[in-house]
C-alpha cells in the first residue's frame, strides 16, 4: 500500500464529485490540501492529453516533487479519475482505476443519482477504500 495516495473523481466542469485520502501515511491537513492543489493543477495537462490518445488510462501524466498524478479518463472525457501517489505500481494503479470505474458506472445507474453531483454513497466510499488497500 502506498504511503501517500489521494483519489479524486472530477466530473464535468471540473467539479470534484468524490475525494478520498487513501494513503497509509498519517493524515495531515496541509498535505491533503497540497494533494488537492496538485490534482487540480494536473487537470490542465489532462485536458490536453485526453484528446491525444484513445487509451483510458493515461498513466502518470504529471508530478510535483515526488508525487505523481495518474489519470484515468472515462469514455465521455468529462469524468476523470485522478490518483496522486508516490508509488510506482503501474499495474496496480491501472487495476484500481478500472475497478473504481466500474463502481462509478454502477453509481451512475442509480436513478436517484444526478450525474454531476457529489457521490455521497458510503458504500461507494467503502469500496473505493477497499480497492485502494488491495491495489495500491
Amino acid at each position: 500500500m502506498a504511503t501517500t495516495a489521494c483519489f479524486v473523481i472530477v466530473s464535468r466542469n471540473d467539479i470534484p464529485i468524490y475525494e478520498a485520502e487513501v494513503g497509509s501515511a498519517a493524515k495531515r491537513e496541509d498535505a491533503a490540501q497540497l494533494h488537492q492543489f496538485i490534482l487540480h493543477a494536473a487537470l490542465d495537462i489532462v485536458q490536453d492529453l485526453a484528446w491525444t490518445t484513445s487509451a483510458m488510462y493515461l498513466k502518470a501524466i504529471d508530478r510535483f516533487n515526488d508525487l505523481v498524478v495518474s489519470v484515468y479518463v472515462t469514455a465521455d472525457i468529462h469524468t476523470r479519475l485522478m490518483l496522486l501517489h508516490d508509488s510506482r505500481n503501474d499495474d496496480g494503479i491501472k487495476s484500481f482505476f478500472q475497478e473504481v470505474h466500474e463502481l462509478y458506472i454502477k453509481t451512475l445507474l442509480n436513478p436517484l443519482y444526478l450525474p454531476g453531483s457529489r457521490i455521497t454513497s458510503s458504500h461507494f466510499d467503502t469500496k473505493v477504500r477497499a480497492l485502494a488497500r488491495k491495489y495500491l
Binding site: R12, I15, E19, Q33, F37, H40, A41, I45, T52, G116
Partner: protein
C-alpha cells in the same frame, strides 16, 4: 537565478536606472516607461555618434540591420558572482534619473550620482538625466557639463526625442567601450573566474589545465561582448573557438555557456525568424547545454555553489523559446523538470524566481490551473518571509490565482461574461437544464478555495490591507460557512470587524458577506390602491383592462402571454412601496445588519434603510420600503447592506443560483433551509415601471370601519367618506358593485360623488349608501351554533359581503408629454370598499295561513256602505287616531267572507321587535262613482310587539282587495284558449294560467308590507312574500273577486210614501227610533226592503227568495208555527237586475215574538253565463247557480 530569462538575454546590455535625489514614484515610473521605448537602438541610428578610434574588432558588424539591446534595471542590482561567466550579467551602464523640482541643488545631484555609480564598477558609461529643470538650473547646469544631462521642459514628444538622442549617444559610447575591451582582451588573455572554480591552491597539472581553459574562457567572453555589440557573426566565430577549446579542456560549464551564446548568436543572426529547422537546431543545442550544465555539477561544491541555477535557467529559456500551445507537452516536460530542480536549490529567493518563471510560462501556455498552483507556491514562499512587503507580494500573487480557483473577488470578476449570462438566463427562465446549472458551479474545489481564501486573508492582514482582508473573509464566510466550525466562523466574524475598524466608514466592498438575502415576495398593490389601465377610447375606461370576450381562457392570447411571462408592476411617483425579502444567517454568531435597503441602480428610487438583528442560525422576513422618485423603469437586482462595517451589494440572482445549486446537490448547503426556513418557489422580479403621480382615494366608513351588525332585512344607511390622499385631482369616478349579495345595496348616491368632481387633493366627499341586510344563511347559523355560544359574530368573515368598486382617474392629458402614444395615458385606479356587514338572525317567520271570519250584519235603517268604504267608525273606540288603524266592521253590513292573513312570527333573538303591517292601496279612478271617496291611502294597523324568545301572530285583513266588478277580464286569458269548452268550466282554477294568477297574487302581495323595528334605529322589512304567496295560492279568487250579487236588507224609511210602488206591504209601518239603532219592535208591521246589486257587467235574471229564521234556525215565516207574519212576496220573486245596478224589493214583516231573527236572501240565477259559472266553480253547465247573501240579524224588542 534571474527573473525573466530567455535565450536572447545573453545579448542584452544591462543598464542600472537609479533615481537620484527624491523622485516621486509616479514620475519615476513615467521616466522609466520613456526609457523602455529605447530598449532596442538600431546600429544605423548611432553611427553619427560613433567614431572609430582604431580598427573595430567587430568586423562583421551589421550596421544596417543590427541593433543594441538594453535591459533597464530600476534601482540597479548588486554585482553577481557570475559576472565573468556571462558578461550580460555585468551592469555596463548607469543612468541616473533626477527630478529637478524636487532636487534643486544640481551640485548635490552630481555628488549623489557620483557616489551611486561608484557601486557599479563594471559600468562603462554613466549619465544622469535631469528632468524638468528650472531656468536657473538650466543656466547652472549647462556650465556644469559632465555627465549631467538636462532635459529642458517641453512637451512629451520633444522630451522623447531628446531622450532618444541621449540613448543613441549612450549606445554609441558603449559600442566604443566594447571595442576597446575586446581589443584589450585578445592579446592579454583576461582572467575570468567563476565561483565554481576551486579556491584551493592548484597543483601544477591543474595550473596547466587552467591556462588552457583560460584561452577558451577568454574566447567565450569576447563572444559575449560581440553579442552585446550586436554582431552575431563575430560572436559566433569566438564561440566556435571557445567551444573547441572548452571541449578539449573538459570545461563543461564554460562549454555550456559558450553553446548558449552560440544559440543566442544564431537567433540574433536569424533576426527572430523561427522556422522549424532553426527550432530543431535550438532544441538540439539547448538539450546539449542543459546536459553539459548538469555534467559540470561537482559534488564537492554542492554545498557552496552549484551550476544548478544555470541548468534551470537554461531549461526555462528553452521552455520560453518553445512556449506555444502546439508544443505544450514538450514545454510541460521542461517545466516539470525545472520544478523538480526547485528542491535542490539552496537559496529561497532562487526558488521564488524559479516558481515565478514557471507560473508565468504555464500562464503563457494557457494552463491557468498550473500557473495558479505555482503562483500559490510563490505566495507561500513570500509568506515564509516575515515582512510586510513580502506579504503584499503574496497577496498580489494570490489575487492572480483567484480566477483559476474561482474565488475571485466580484470586483475583478466583471470580465467573465459567460457566467453572468447564464445567471441572468437562469433568473429569467426559472427552470434550467441540469448541465447549465452545473456550469454555474464550475470547478468548485471547496478545499482549495478555502485554503486560497484563507491565505489571502492571512497575507492581507499581514500586508495591512484591510479591504482585501475583509473581502477574503467575506467570501470565505459566505461561500464556505458549512465547512467552517462555529469557532472558525466567529474568528472570521471578528476578522471582518477588525478589518472594518481600520477602514474609513462608508467603505464599499464588491464581495458580499452575510446575510443571505432572497426575494420573499413582491406585494402587489393593496386592493385599496389598485391600478387599472385606462382605455381612453371607451366611456367605461376601466373595462378595457379586463379580459375581453366571454372566455376565461383564450387560445389566441397564449402566444402573447408567453412573451411576457413576467408580471408587470406599476409604481407611482411619491407613493411608498414595499418589498419583502428574507434574510438568513446560517452562522453561529449573532449578526447585526446595521442597515439594509433596496439597491436600485436606475436611481429613481429612494430606499429606506432598516436595521436587523439575526440570531445564530435564523432567518427573518423583512419589509423593505422606498419611494419611487421619477418616472421610468425600476430594476431591483438586490440590496445594499451595511454589515460588519462595510457596505456591500447583495444580488438576489446570486442567491437564486446558490439555492438552485443546493437543490441539485452541487452546493454544500442551502443557507435558508439550514435556518429552518421553508423552500420558496422561484420569485421572478417583475418589470417595474414608475408612472407619474395618480390620485389616491382613501375610503372610510363614517362611524367606524368595523362590521355593521344588521338583522335580516334591516335597512341601514351608511356614509362612506372618500378623501383624495394623492397629489392629483380625481377627474373621473364611477361606482359599481361586485361580490355577493349585490342586491342588498339599495342605493348608492353616486351623483354625490360625480357632483364633487374634480376632487382636489385633500378634498373629501361623503357618499351615502343604503343597505338592506340579506337573508341570514341557515347553514351558517348551524355551524355557528355548533362552534359555540358567540357564534353570531362569525359571519362577517365569509365572502358574502358586497364590495363597492370605485374606478377613478386623474386628468387625461399628461403633463408635458406631447407624444400621445397609448402608454402615455396615465392609468386609473380602483378603490375597493368592502361593505362589512354582519347579518344576524332576525325575526323568523314560522308560517302563514289564511283565515276567514264571518260576522253577521244587522238590519238597520241605512243601507250598509259598500265593502270598500271604511271611513266611518261604527265601533266604539277610544281615540280616533287609533281607530284608523283598526279593522272596522260595519255592523249593518257585517263581514261575511272576510279573510285574514295570519302570519306567525317568532323572535329567536335577544332584542324586542315591533311589527307594523301596512297595506298600500292604489287609487282606482273608475271606481269613484261606486265607492265615492276611495283613497290611495296606506292602511296601517297597530304595532305588534314580539319579545325575545316569543312568537306572535299578526293578522292582516285582506278586505281591501276585492275588485269592484266581476267581469271576464280576470278570466279572459283563460277563456280565449279554450273557447270551445267555454260552456263547461268544470276545473277552471286548475286551468288558469299560472302566470296570470301569479301576477295578480304578486300584485296583491306587494301591497302588503310587514315592517319591523327594533330599538331606536334598527328597522327593516320582513321578506315573507313567498310565504304569503303560498298561503294565498288556493283562495286568491275569493280574496280578489267580488260575488256576482250582493244582498242587503234594511228597514224601509219610506214605507208610508205612496210612490213606493214596489211595496206590497201595508203602509202603516212606523219607523221607531229604535230602528235606527238596528232594533225592531214586536207586534208591529215592519217594512223592509232587500237590495240586490249586480256586480257583473251583464244583466242577471234570477229568482230571489227571502227567508227569516229564528235563533233555533227554524224558518219562522212559513209553516204552522210561524212566529213572523209577512206581507209581500218572499220567495220566487223573479227579477232582472241590470248590470252594475241594484234593485229593491220591499216587503213587511210582523214579528209576533221578540228575539233574534236572521234574514237571508238567496237567489237562483237563470241562464248563468260563463263568468258566473266560473266564479261559482260549478262542475257542470246545467247545474243551477245559487247565490246566497250574508245573513242579517234583526233584533226584535218588545213584550211578547
Amino acid at each position: 537565478m534571474e527573473p525573466d530569462v530567455s535565450i536572447e538575454t545573453s545579448s542584452m546590455i544591462r543598464v542600472a536606472v537609479l533615481p537620484i535625489g527624491h523622485v516621486p514614484p509616479v514620475l519615476l515610473r513615467d521616466y522609466h516607461s520613456m526609457l523602455l521605448r529605447h530598449q532596442t537602438i538600431p546600429l544605423s541610428a548611432i553611427s553619427s555618434f560613433y567614431t572609430e578610434h582604431q580598427k573595430s574588432p567587430f568586423s562583421n558588424q551589421p550596421w544596417d540591420s543590427g541593433s543594441l539591446r538594453f535591459k533597464f534595471i530600476v534601482g540597479g542590482a548588486p554585482p553577481s558572482p557570475w559576472e565573468d561567466f556571462q558578461s550580460n550579467r555585468k551592469t555596463l551602464a548607469v543612468i541616473g534619473i533626477c527630478h529637478c523640482p524636487s532636487s534643486p541643488d544640481l551640485d548635490s545631484v552630481i555628488d549623489q550620482f557620483d557616489s551611486a555609480r561608484r557601486a557599479y564598477a563594471s559600468a562603462l558609461v554613466d549619465r544622469c538625466f535631469a528632468f524638468c529643470p528650472g531656468d536657473s538650473q538650466l543656466e547652472d547646469g549647462s556650465k556644469k557639463g559632465g555627465n549631467l544631462m538636462l532635459f529642458p521642459p517641453a512637451d512629451r514628444a520633444t522630451q522623447e526625442f531628446h531622450l532618444q538622442t541621449m540613448m543613441q549617444d549612450i549606445a554609441a559610447s558603449l559600442l566604443m567601450e566594447f571595442e576597446k575591451w575586446v581589443l584589450k582582451a585578445e592579446p592579454a588573455g583576461t582572467i575570468v573566474k567563476t565561483p565554481l572554480d576551486s579556491q584551493a591552491t592548484l597543483n601544477s597539472e591543474e595550473v596547466i589545465k587552467a591556462k588552457k581553459r583560460r584561452l577558451g574562457r577568454a574566447q567565450k567572453t569576447m563572444g559575449d561582448y560581440c553579442l552585446l555589440a550586436g554582431s552575431p557573426v563575430d560572436a559566433n566565430a569566438h564561440y566556435t573557438t571557445a567551444l573547441e577549446l572548452a571541449r578539449l579542456t573538459g570545461d563543461f560549464f564554460w562549454y555550456a555557456g559558450a553553446l548558449e551564446g552560440n544559440v543566442c548568436a544564431l537567433l540574433i543572426d536569424r533576426m527572430g525568424e523561427k522556422d522549424s529547422a532553426v527550432e530543431d537546431e535550438v532544441r538540439f543545442r539547448y538539450s546539449s547545454v542543459i546536459s553539459h550544465y548538469r555534467k559540470s555539477f561537482i559534488q564537492e561544491h554542492a554545498q557552496r555553489v552549484s551550476p544548478l541555477t544555470f541548468e534551470l535557467e537554461a531549461t526555462l529559456k528553452m521552455a520560453r523559446f518553445l512556449c506555444r500551445r502546439e508544443l505544450a507537452k514538450e514545454v510541460v516536460g521542461y517545466l516539470t523538470s525545472a520544478a523538480d530542480g526547485a528542491k535542490s536549490l539552496i537559496d529561497a529567493s532562487d526558488r521564488l524566481v524559479l516558481y515565478v518563471e514557471i507560473a508565468r510560462l504555464y500562464g503563457t501556455l494557457g494552463y491557468q490551473r498550473k500557473a495558479a498552483f505555482f503562483s500559490r507556491q510563490v505566495a507561500q514562499l513570500y509568506l515564509q518571509q516575515d515582512n510586510r512587503l513580502a506579504a503584499i507580494s503574496a497577496m498580489q500573487v494570490l489575487a492572480m490565482t483567484t480566477r483559476a480557483y474561482r474565488v475571485q473577488s466580484r470586483a475583478s470578476a466583471e470580465d467573465s461574461p459567460s457566467k453572468k449570462e447564464i445567471g441572468s438566463s437562469l433568473a429569467e427562465g426559472g427552470k434550467m437544464l441540469h448541465q447549465s446549472v452545473v456550469s454555474l458551479f464550475e470547478s468548485q474545489w471547496s478545499t482549495l478555495q478555502m485554503v486560497v481564501l484563507r491565505e489571502i486573508l492571512l497575507s492581507a492582514v499581514r500586508a495591512g490591507d484591510p479591504l482585501a482582508a475583509w473581502g477574503a473573509a467575506a467570501r470565505l464566510l459566505r461561500s464556505y460557512y458549512p465547512l467552517i466550525t462555529p469557532a472558525g466562523q466567529n474568528g472570521l466574524a471578528s476578522a471582518l470587524s477588525n478589518s472594518a475598524d481600520r477602514l474609513p466608514s462608508g467603505t464599499r466592498c464588491a464581495d458580499p458577506a452575510l446575510p443571505f438575502i432572497r426575494l420573499y415576495s413582491f406585494p402587489m398593490h393593496p386592493s385599496q390602491m389598485d391600478i387599472v389601465k385606462r382605455n381612453p377610447a371607451r366611456e367605461d375606461w376601466w373595462a378595457g383592462a379586463a379580459n375581453t370576450g366571454p372566455f376565461i381562457y383564450t387560445p389566441f392570447s397564449k402566444g402573447d402571454a408567453n412573451t411576457n411571462t413576467k408580471q408587470e408592476l406599476i409604481w407611482i411617483v411619491g407613493e411608498p412601496v414595499q418589498i419583502l425579502v428574507e434574510l438568513a444567517n446560517p452562522c453561529g454568531f449573532d449578526l447585526r445588519v446595521d442597515s439594509i435597503y433596496l439597491a436600485v441602480p436606475s436611481g429613481n428610487f429612494d430606499a429606506f434603510p432598516v436595521t436587523v438583528n439575526l440570531p445564530p442560525n435564523s432567518s427573518k422576513v423583512v419589509t423593505l420600503s422606498g419611494i419611487p422618485t421619477s418616472v421610468g423603469m425600476v430594476t431591483i437586482p438586490g440590496c445594499t447592506v451595511h454589515c460588519f462595517g462595510v457596505i456591500t451589494e447583495h444580488l438576489f440572482k446570486d442567491v437564486d443560483n446558490l439555492l438552485l445549486g443546493a437543490t441539485q446537490g452541487l452546493v454544500l448547503s442551502d443557507p435558508f433551509r439550514c435556518c429552518g426556513s421553508a423552500r420558496l418557489k422561484n420569485i421572478s422580479v417583475p418589470n417595474i415601471s414608475v408612472v407619474p403621480p395618480l390620485p389616491l382615494l382613501v375610503s372610510r366608513v363614517v362611524g367606524g370601519d368595523g362590521a355593521i351588525i344588521l338583522h335580516e332585512g334591516e335597512i341601514h344607511d351608511l356614509w362612506i367618506s372618500l378623501a383624495n390622499a394623492g397629489t392629483v385631482p380625481v377627474e373621473q369616478a364611477h361606482v359599481s358593485l361586485s361580490g355577493k349579495n349585490q342586491d342588498s345595496v339599495i342605493s348608492i348616491a353616486s351623483e354625490t360623488l360625480n357632483s364633487a368632481l374634480p376632487l382636489r387633493p385633500g378634498a373629501e366627499v361623503t357618499l351615502p349608501v343604503t343597505l338592506r341586510a340579506w337573508r341570514h344563511v341557515l347553514a351558517d347559523a348551524d355551524t355557528a351554533g355548533r362552534s359555540g355560544s358567540g357564534g353570531t359574530v362569525r359571519h362577517s368573515k365569509d365572502g358574502s359581503n358586497p364590495t363597492l368598486l370605485i374606478h377613478y382617474a386623474g386628468p387625461l392629458t399628461n403633463i408635458g408629454d406631447p407624444a400621445t402614444n397609448k402608454s402615455a395615458v396615465p392609468p386609473g385606479r380602483r378603490l375597493v370598499v368592502p361593505l362589512q356587514i354582519c347579518v344576524l338572525q332576525g325575526l323568523s317567520f314560522v308560517k302563514a295561513r289564511l283565515l276567514s271570519m264571518e260576522i253577521p250584519a244587522q238590519v238597520g235603517e241605512n243601507l250598509p256602505k259598500p265593502v270598500h268604504i271604511e271611513d266611518s267608525p261604527t265601533e266604539a273606540l277610544s281615540s280616533p287616531t287609533k281607530m284608523d288603524r283598526l279593522v272596522k266592521i260595519d255592523p249593518f253590513r257585517g263581514s261575511w267572507g272576510l279573510r285574514f292573513l295570519e302570519l306567525e312570527l317568532s323572535n329567536p333573538t335577544d332584542v324586542v321587535f315591533e311589527i307594523t303591517v301596512s297595506v298600500q292601496l292604489e287609487n282606482f279612478s273608475h271606481d269613484h262613482r261606486l265607492s265615492g271617496d276611495r283613497d290611495a291611502a296606506e292602511y296601517g294597523y297597530p304595532k305588534t310587539r314580539i319579545d325575545r324568545d316569543c312568537s306572535a301572530r299578526v293578522l292582516i285583513p285582506l278586505e281591501h282587495f276585492k275588485l269592484p266588478v266581476l267581469d271576464d277580464s280576470f278570466f279572459v286569458k283563460d277563456n280565449l284558449p279554450d273557447g270551445a269548452n267555454s260552456g263547461r268550466n268544470s276545473s277552471f282554477s286548475e286551468r288558469n294560467t299560472k302566470a296570470e294568477l301569479n301576477a295578480s297574487i304578486k300584485n296583491l302581495i306587494s301591497k302588503i308590507k310587514v315592517r319591523w323595528q327594533s330599538g331606536r334605529n334598527s328597522s327593516g322589512e320582513l321578506n315573507i312574500k313567498d310565504a304569503i304567496q303560498a298561503a294565498l295560492q288556493t283562495s286568491v279568487m275569493d280574496v280578489l273577486l267580488p260575488d256576482p250579487l250582493t244582498f242587503c236588507f234594511r228597514l224601509s224609511r219610506y214605507a208610508l210614501e205612496p210612490e213606493n210602488s214596489s211595496s206590497h206591504n201595508s203602509p202603516n209601518v212606523q219607523v221607531h227610533s229604535a230602528a235606527a239603532k238596528g232594533s225592531v219592535l214586536a207586534h208591529e208591521m215592519t217594512p223592509m226592503e232587500v237590495v240586490v246589486r249586480n256586480n257583473t257587467k251583464e244583466k242577471i235574471k234570477m229568482s230571489l227568495s227571502i227567508t227569516c229564521r229564528d235563533v233555533a234556525g227554524e224558518n219562522c215565516v212559513e209553516g204552522t208555527k210561524a212566529t213572523v207574519l209577512c206581507s209581500g212576496v218572499l220567495s220566487g220573486i223573479n227579477v232582472e237586475v241590470p248590470s252594475l245596478q241594484e234593485i229593491k224589493h220591499s216587503f213587511s214583516l210582523y214579528f209576533l215574538v221578540p228575539g233574534e231573527y236572521t234574514l237571508v236572501a238567496a237567489s237562483v240565477i237563470d241562464d248563468a253565463n260563463d263568468i258566473l259559472r266560473a266564479r261559482a266553480r260549478t262542475k257542470s253547465s246545467d247545474e243551477p247557480i245559487f247565490c246566497r247573501g250574508p245573513p242579517y240579524h234583526v233584533r226584535v224588542v218588545g213584550t211578547a
